[in-house]
């Protein structure tokens, strides 16, 4: 990789960035400085002395830039690495009955895990760290339907499918790194690929290869894909549905309920393009669903507010239904850095009883 290359590539390969590019590449309308400072704020700022080198935090790079790299394995591993670097200083190591060690408290750490006895002795804040349970069997269920191949802004956003693939890859590697057994199901109007969950070292490569071959096409039968999973997860496990949820709602909820009924944990990552949540001012046109072919003539300008209300209603309905069945719902806009999503994923996992 030559010097002065793209800043993202430089970040991925650990190369010095080209100063010519840095201020000139806006991401989602913001300069990189603006974005990183915001992301830093989001993940919990540190003092000047302990400030990490953000150029190495590939997990916080805008997803659009990640998708330009093209090598999924590279992306996933680097993102995970960056994520783990960030995670190293925090308490996101999970928790279990077995105590592992104490470490210095960092702002943002959960106060529940502060070791007050040590504080009493040393007048310093330490947090307790535990060994995570490692026997989880997880299925990552990826929606690869036609609708997932859409994005509202080709210049600024990855497609929902690209984003979902990167997220799935990272989640898979994260699970494997925790010695969990991770499997993969991709589906459109039927199940396209199936990788049985294993905790082998080679499982990551298998999953990445499978994900690299995914192409968005066809309809979206999430219910059908999810219905197979209870039979494959012989004991308590985790099912992660990564989809834009433009699916048969009732059938999907029914399948998720079945999973929950069998005692499996369920996490739904609702991948959503920002242009789906806030209707772009495209004016009057014939809007058509590339997946179902459904058409509607409408003036987006006139419908913007009421559309927003309709979408929020739909999201609230998903959130409510999933909460009722004890499933996690995670709205994942495609302009959100994957590292943040992974962190939230771990947070949710950590909060589970």
């Amino acid at each position: 990789m030559p010097a002065g290359s793209h800043p993202v590539a430089a970040a991925v390969y650990g190369l010095p960035t080209d100063s010519r590019h840095e201020p000139e590449v806006p991401i989602d309308g913001r300069t990189r400085d603006e974005m990183t400072s915001r992301q830093e704020e989001h993940i919990g700022g540190r003092g000047e002395a302990g400030k990490p080198d953000l150029t190495e935090r590939i997990d916080l790079v805008h997803p659009r830039l990640l998708s330009e790299i093209g090598n999924l394995e590279l992306i996933a591993r680097q993102v995970l690495q960056g994520f783990l670097i960030g995670l190293h200083g925090s308490s996101r190591r999970g928790r279990s009955a077995s105590f592992a060690e104490n470490r210095l408290y960092n702002p943002g750490d959960d106060l529940r895990f502060v070791d007050w006895k040590v504080f009493g002795r040393s007048d310093r804040l330490y947090v307790k760290q535990f060994e995570e349970e490692r026997n989880l069997r997880a299925y990552l269920v990826l929606d690869a339907s036609e609708s997932m191949g859409w994005r509202s802004d080709a210049d600024r956003l990855p497609t929902k499918l690209d984003y979902a693939i990167m997220l799935t890859a990272c989640l898979g590697l994260l699970l494997l790194r925790q010695s969990d057994a991770a499997g993969l199901v991709t589906f459109d109007d039927r199940v396209r690929e199936h990788v049985a969950p294993k905790a082998l070292h080679s499982q990551g490569a298998r999953m990445l290869r499978t994900l690299e071959s995914v192409r968005g096409s066809g309809g979206s039968d999430a219910g059908g894909a999810l219905r197979d999973i209870p039979a494959r997860l012989r004991r308590r496990g985790l099912a992660v549905l990564i989809s834009d949820l433009l699916v048969d709602r009732d059938a999907t909820l029914k399948a998720l309920r079945l999973l929950r009924h069998r005692g499996h944990e369920v996490l739904v990552c609702h991948v959503m393009d920002p242009g789906e949540r806030e209707l772009p001012a495209a004016g009057e046109a014939v809007y058509f669903d590339p997946e179902s072919g459904e058409e509607l003539r409408a003036d987006s300008g006139a419908l913007r507010r009421v559309y927003h209300r309709a979408v929020e209603g739909a999201l609230a309905a998903w959130r409510l239904e999933l909460a009722r069945m004890g499933a996690d719902y995670h709205l994942t806009p495609t302009d959100r850095p994957i590292g943040l999503v992974l962190r939230e994923f771990l947070d949710r996992r950590a909060r589970r009883p």
């Binding site: 590339p290 509607l296 006139a302």
Partner: protein, 685 residues
């Protein structure tokens, strides 16, 4: 509303543009992939109704804006301009001052309201306007004069109790308007009484009686436009009326003194609806014969109520007057007040005179002498200073027997014996009487027929018969000669005249065609004899009485020597001796000779409301419009304000273009607010 540039209204066709765009809007073919169509559809479904309303509102706003732009381009003139804000105009005003306009409306008589409107017409006139003002009764008040003079003329006008032939005056007024480039208008200020417009209502259009408008009613200054005829609507005028329609003294206007006088009185009631129906059918209005309903009739004699009777509508009643002293008397027959006050009273004058002394020259013991004796015994002769000589010709009467020197009249009765006839004729010739009697060649019994003058006498001669007569033949021109009675064959039987020559020039004479003997006529042997003789005496002594036969609104030639006249309203005006005066009001007129302050030498004249004015029924403006297709009949709302709004139709109002442009801007601003996202959101929720 009028327009400066009416052609610009054609721009209003452009309102079709947004309509067509709305109705034939070509849907956009732009296609956008959007997976979340399900949310879009959900939103669209909830907002589709609001969107349709918004589209309609936008279309209405745009259409309205274009229409208003066209309107503004046309230069609309709203309202009516002020005084003089119109092209020079010739105005013919027909001011109805007939009796029917004397009806009371809101404590004011109708004429005052009409004159107020006429003054309003003048108030709105410009200095270049000219006026022709014709009252329906009386001479024109203005002929082509500027407004100031016209106003002065109007102020001189007053109401009358005469009949106004509105159609005739309107025709005259329209003809007076000169043709040319100037605008023309006709203002018919009338209560539209149907009888006054009767000649317009003739159903037969080919009738020669039908009113024909002047050929110049088409507006020369504006081809195709008719001269506007503006009429007011006086809908609240009373449309029912009661009137004394007749008052006829039984003895005529010249009555004997000292005896009671009977007057036949007619009362009638009129309803407006009936009059209008009658006018529409071209028939004369009929009286409203309401039997069982009565009217109280009072009789005043020289200012004193002397009798009161109850009369039935549509029928005659008889009232009595007490014996009159010799001289002129004024009688007023009066009803309770009704819609039109003027005809609630009827006026007449009577001249009472003393019965004359009679000198009979003729045979003793004749039927005539017996009749005269009866009259004398009853006090109906020998009372006054006048002397009437009766020559009942016979052998005992000398040829050329001259009347007594102080006799004011001589009655000549022909002899029974035709042999005496030459002497009789010689006597007539000697007295310069231009009549001679010829032996009757025809035989047989004949009836006699009084002439109109004679028929007013109380004596009914219908049953009288004549079996022998002489033929009365005129021998020369005779002043004041008249035939009072003729035979049923039409020959003269009783001639009345005044001698023009000789010693007794100026004295009256009566020449009878038959001797008053049973061999010649049935009169002497019946009850007719005494009344007939008394009648002869009255004819012989009658003087010209003014009687009550004059109509208000007519012109009267005052007798020679008259210097002044006291009108019914009490005013005294000097008049030219023998000249014409208009009798504007119903009532009593006193004619003075000599010093106006000395009424001793006066005579009386009574004028009454013409019968056409009794019925107040009015035509509807729409009906008038049908009757006058040659004119553009425009009805104005009641009152001076409503009138002012309509007159001078060529007036220009204020240019409203600026206001309309402002309205367009407002519409476009509203349209912008609706179209912009904020407004769109407000519209669509």
């Amino acid at each position: 509303m009028s327009f400066l540039f009416p052609a610009a209204l054609a721009l209003a066709v452009a309102v079709a543009i947004p309509l067509l765009l709305h109705l034939r809007r070509t849907p956009t073919e732009r296609r956008i992939a959007f997976p979340a169509v399900r949310y879009l559809r959900q939103a669209e479904r909830s907002r589709s109704r609001a969107l349709r309303l918004r589209d309609l509102l936008l279309m209405a706003l745009r259409t309205g804006a274009i229409a208003l732009v066209a309107l503004a381009a046309a230069g609309p003139l709203v309202g009516r301009g002020g005084a003089g804000e119109h092209p020079p105009t010739d105005v013919a005003i027909v001011l109805d001052n007939s009796a029917s306009t004397g009806r009371i409306l809101d404590d004011r008589i109708g004429f005052e309201l009409l004159r107020e409107m006429a003054l309003a017409s003048i108030a709105l006139a410009g200095t270049a306007d000219r006026f022709w003002i014709y009252p329906t009764v009386g001479p024109p008040l203005a002929l082509g004069v500027p407004p100031a003079e016209a106003a002065a003329g109007l102020r001189r006008a007053g109401p009358t109790d005469g009949f106004g032939d509105v159609s005739l005056v309107l025709e005259r007024a329209l003809r007076s308007l000169p043709e040319g480039d100037r605008k023309r208008e006709a203002h018919l200020l009338s209560d539209l009484q149907a009888t006054g417009l009767a000649s317009l209502a003739s159903p037969d259009s080919s009738s020669t009686d039908r009113w024909t408008p002047p050929a110049s009613t088409l507006d020369a200054s504006a081809p195709g436009e008719r001269v506007p005829l503006l009429i007011p609507i006086l809908s609240n005028l009373p449309d029912r009326n009661a009137a004394v329609t007749a008052a006829r003294p039984s003895e005529g206007s010249s009555v004997p003194s000292g005896v009671p006088v009977f007057v036949e009185v007619g009362v009638a009631r009129f309803s407006g609806e009936e009059a209008e129906a009658a006018a529409s059918s071209g028939a004369r209005p009929t009286r409203d014969p309401v039997h069982g309903d009565s009217a109280r009739v009072r009789v005043d004699l020289d200012g004193m109520t002397v009798d009161a009777v109850t009369g039935l509508w549509g029928e005659n009643a008889t009232v009595s007057l007490p014996p009159l002293d010799a001289g002129d008397h004024y009688v007023r027959i009066e009803l309770d007040p009704s819609g039109l006050r003027a005809d609630d009273s009827r006026h007449l004058t009577l001249r009472a005179r003393d019965a004359p002394s009679v000198v009979l020259i003729g045979p003793e013991g004749s039927f005539l002498s017996a009749a005269l004796e009866s009259l004398r015994e009853a006090g109906r002769t020998e009372r006054g200073t006048q002397i009437v000589q009766i020559l009942e010709f016979g052998p005992e009467v000398a040829t050329g027997g001259r009347p007594a020197g102080d006799a004011s009249a001589v009655i000549y009765i022909p002899p029974e014996d035709p042999v005496e006839l030459p002497r009789f004729n010689q006597t007539l010739a000697t007295a310069s009487i231009p009549w001679t009697l010829l032996p009757d060649v025809a035989r047989g019994e004949l009836g006699i027929a009084p002439t109109d003058e004679a028929s007013r006498a109380s004596v009914s001669l219908a049953s009288a018969r004549v079996s022998r007569r002489y033929v009365l033949e005129r021998t020369g021109p005779a002043a004041d000669d008249s035939v009072l009675i003729r035979t049923s064959e039409g020959d003269a039987w009783l001639a009345l005249g005044r001698t023009s020559a000789g010693r007794a020039a100026g004295s009256r004479y009566l020449v009878l065609g038959s001797p008053l003997a049973p061999s010649a006529t049935t009169i002497p042997t019946t009850a007719l004899m005494v009344p007939f003789v008394e009648r002869l005496l009255r004819w012989a002594t009658a003087t010209e009485a003014t009687y009550g036969g004059f109509l208000a609104g007519e012109t009267y030639l005052v007798p020679a020597g008259t210097d002044s006249v006291r009108f019914p309203d009490g005013t005294v005006r000097r008049v030219d001796s023998g000249g014409p005066i208009l009798l504007p009001q119903a009532g009593l007129y006193r004619l003075y000779r000599g010093d106006a302050g000395m009424p001793a030498d006066s005579s009386l004249l009574a004028a009454n409301v013409p019968e056409e004015e009794h019925d107040p029924g009015a035509l509807e403006p729409a009906r008038l419009s049908e009757m006058l297709p040659e004119l553009e009949v425009v009805a104005a709302e009641p009152g001076a304000k409503g009138w002012s709004r309509r007159i001078f139709r060529s007036r220009r109002g204020r240019d409203a273009s600026a206001w309309i442009v402002g309205a367009v801007a407002l519409l476009l601003l509203t349209e912008t607010l609706v179209v912009t996202p904020g407004g769109r959101d407000r519209m669509t929720g």
